[in-house]
């Protein structure tokens, strides 16, 4: 596959690989076969390599935007979140996959807000053995429920992870993902003045499996 890297990312990747020495993975080269040219990129992953991760952590409601009040607090408590992510590498750095995540938080009167998102995901992974640093963007659909109210909305979730490779298969680390949910009402069922843009942050611990 002929993949084009953005030049800055390519430079950064090469630099990280240079500092970190050899990368690891299914196609890690034996030490004896390490390239002598330190500027040469080492292919840690290749097309078809996959990863599956389980993520659990905190859900931080940040603010709502919209309506006559402009930017306001969410009135929500600190919540919980969890997700399962699957991705397949296109090459050493780029991966395409899916994330299914859920989150909850409570209102001042203990009403529970539930959010479930299903998002395709594209990632760019920086390698610096024994660390991987994926940055990613997810965009998909979100299901929001509050008591009997229910709404499907788009969701955009940019984020980044910091992963430590325990061995060839397992990696553990930390994720930070921003949730932007434009909850737009057209007036057909609910008045359009009820439109709000939700902003949340999830911070999770991650266990990731390469296969």
């Amino acid at each position: 596959m002929n993949t084009r890297f953005p030049r800055p990312l390519l430079v950064l990747t090469i630099a990280l690989l240079t500092v970190g020495g050899s990368a690891f993975g299914q196609e890690t080269q034996p030490p004896a076969e390490k390239p002598h040219n330190p500027t040469k990129q080492v292919a840690t992953y290749s097309l078809g390599d996959q990863m599956l991760s389980l993520n659990l952590g905190l859900f931080v409601p940040l603010f709502f935007y919209g309506g006559s009040a402009g930017v306001t607090g969410t009135n929500l408590s600190l919540g919980g979140t969890g997700s399962i992510m699957w991705s397949s590498f296109l090459d050493n750095n780029w991966a395409l996959g899916f994330d299914i995540g859920g989150a909850f938080a409570f209102s001042p009167n203990a009403r529970a807000l539930f959010l479930v998102s299903i998002t395709p995901r594209i990632s760019y992974v920086f390698h610096n053995y024994p660390f991987d640093i994926p940055i990613f963007l997810e965009a998909g659909i979100d299901f929001a429920r509050l008591q009997e109210s229910f709404k499907t909305d788009p969701v955009i979730k940019p984020g980044a992870s910091f992963l430590w490779n325990y061995n060839n298969n397992w990696a553990f680390g930390l994720n930070a993902v921003y949730w932007w949910i434009p909850q737009v009402y057209t007036g057909a069922v609910v008045n359009s003045t009820e439109t709000r843009y939700g902003n949340f942050l999830d911070i999770t611990l991650s266990a990731l499996y390469h296969f």
Partner: protein
């Protein structure tokens, strides 16, 4: 293959975003959360089911009385306290559910129907006491109206109609035989007598009002028009059938616009299953104002029950209770109910998803309140729900703030 799968799933989700617009509910989810504030709880047991209220005196000396199996009392002036105190029953009994307590203000009397026993040994009686804040059992006195196993089998709701043009009285629904109920009345607050008018009904009376000219009592299927203490007529409304399958078999509440504050002097409003009806000719004919309204959770239509009116400043509305989803608002001239108090924390209350068991409005509460709780002229709306306690809110015409008693 995996990439094709990923791409296909991506397209599927994106198509879902574009093609799916599923909205359920009446308010924005994020917007509702944004407006929410912590509901103040004043300490009355939250699992109570309030089924009736009454008020005595004026803003300085008066009291509220609550029927929630037991009787409760608290000052009408919030500056004197907002804590309810339980009134001990006269004979270890329980208040009649629904309109179990009333006040005859001209006589400074509280009247209450208590029953004791169970099943075939059930007995009931109406008691009275001075309308004050005392809570002892010994202050209850017998009105003499009590079940006797023969001519009076049981006694049910009590009715007091503010501005009653027929008589300043408390009325009692009395069962005189199987499937036969009549009305008694008391003008002195200490004894009852049967109405001279024929008031026989096969089912109990459940609500009463006036349109300024006559009194109206309803059962589940009939409207009794009381034109005098000795004259009455009863009829089953037959016109303006409120929709297929919604025959007049489930009347819930009635309210009369005696002062013309809502739509027109003398208009009557009545709930009938899924519908809200209006009569502009004293109950001779009824028309449909609201044919039906879907429940917010989807599925069946709302079944309406209680009616009360609030007229805080320029804001006038009928509050319409439902059997599943709190109360709703009908504004003058509207042909459908709307969400109640969308900007208040009523939306976060248990009441909103409960069966409404009581609606009571103190139209002069604003005169009693101590600023800044409420400016003069505001109403104090009390609402009770099934096992969710008593709630109250000052209506100022803006955003009401709900408090759980």
């Amino acid at each position: 293959m995996k990439l094709r799968t990923a791409a296909a799933l991506s397209i599927l989700v994106l198509a879902g975003i574009i093609g799916t617009s599923c909205t359920q509910g009446t308010l924005g989810i994020f917007a509702s959360l944004q407006r929410e504030t912590k509901i103040l709880d004043r300490g009355l047991e939250n699992g109570l089911t309030p089924t009736g209220m009454a008020v005595s005196g004026n803003g300085t000396t008066g009291y509220y009385y609550l029927d929630a199996v037991s009787a409760y009392v608290r000052p009408r002036n919030p500056a004197s306290g907002v804590t309810w105190a339980r009134i001990a029953p006269p004979a270890n009994g329980m208040l009649v559910q629904d309109h179990g307590i009333q006040v005859l203000d001209t006589q400074t009397k509280v009247l209450a129907t208590y029953y004791t026993g169970t099943g075939s040994s059930l007995s009931s009686a109406v008691y009275y006491r001075t309308a004050d804040s005392s809570t002892d059992a010994g202050s209850w006195m017998s009105t003499g109206l009590a079940s006797n196993g023969s001519t009076i089998l049981s006694i049910g709701p009590l009715f007091y109609i503010p501005g009653d043009p027929i008589a300043t009285a408390v009325y009692a629904c009395v069962q005189t035989a199987a499937y036969n109920y009549v009305l008694y009345y008391s003008t002195n607050g200490t004894s009852f007598a049967p109405l001279a008018a024929t008031t026989d009904s096969s089912t109990p009376y459940i609500d009463a009002t006036t349109n300024g000219t006559y009194d109206y009592f309803i059962t589940a299927s009939q409207v009794l028009t009381l034109t005098g203490l000795a004259t009455a007529s009863s009829a089953t409304p037959t016109d303006a059938a409120p929709g297929t399958g919604n025959a007049y078999t489930n009347l819930g509440g009635i309210w009369g616009d005696a002062g013309g504050t809502f739509s027109g002097t003398g208009d009557l409003y009545m709930t009938a299953n899924n519908s809200i009806l209006r009569s502009t000719d004293g109950g001779s004919h009824w028309s449909v104002v609201v044919a039906s309204h879907a429940a917010p959770s989807g599925g069946a239509n709302l079944i309406f029950n209680k009616i009360a009116e609030t007229e805080a400043g320029s804001y006038k509305a009928l509050l319409i209770g439902s059997t599943t989803s709190g109360y709703w608002v009908l504004t003058p001239g509207a042909s459908d109910v709307t969400v109640a108090d969308p900007s208040s924390n009523y939306q976060a209350s248990d009441l909103r998803t409960s069966a409404i068991t009581m609606l009571f409005v103190d139209l002069s509460a604003g005169d009693n309140a101590t600023p800044p709780v409420s400016p003069t002229g505001t109403d104090l709306v009390f609402a009770g729900g099934n096992a969710v306690g008593l709630w109250e809110s000052y209506y100022t015409g803006n955003i009401p703030t709900f408090v759980q008693d």
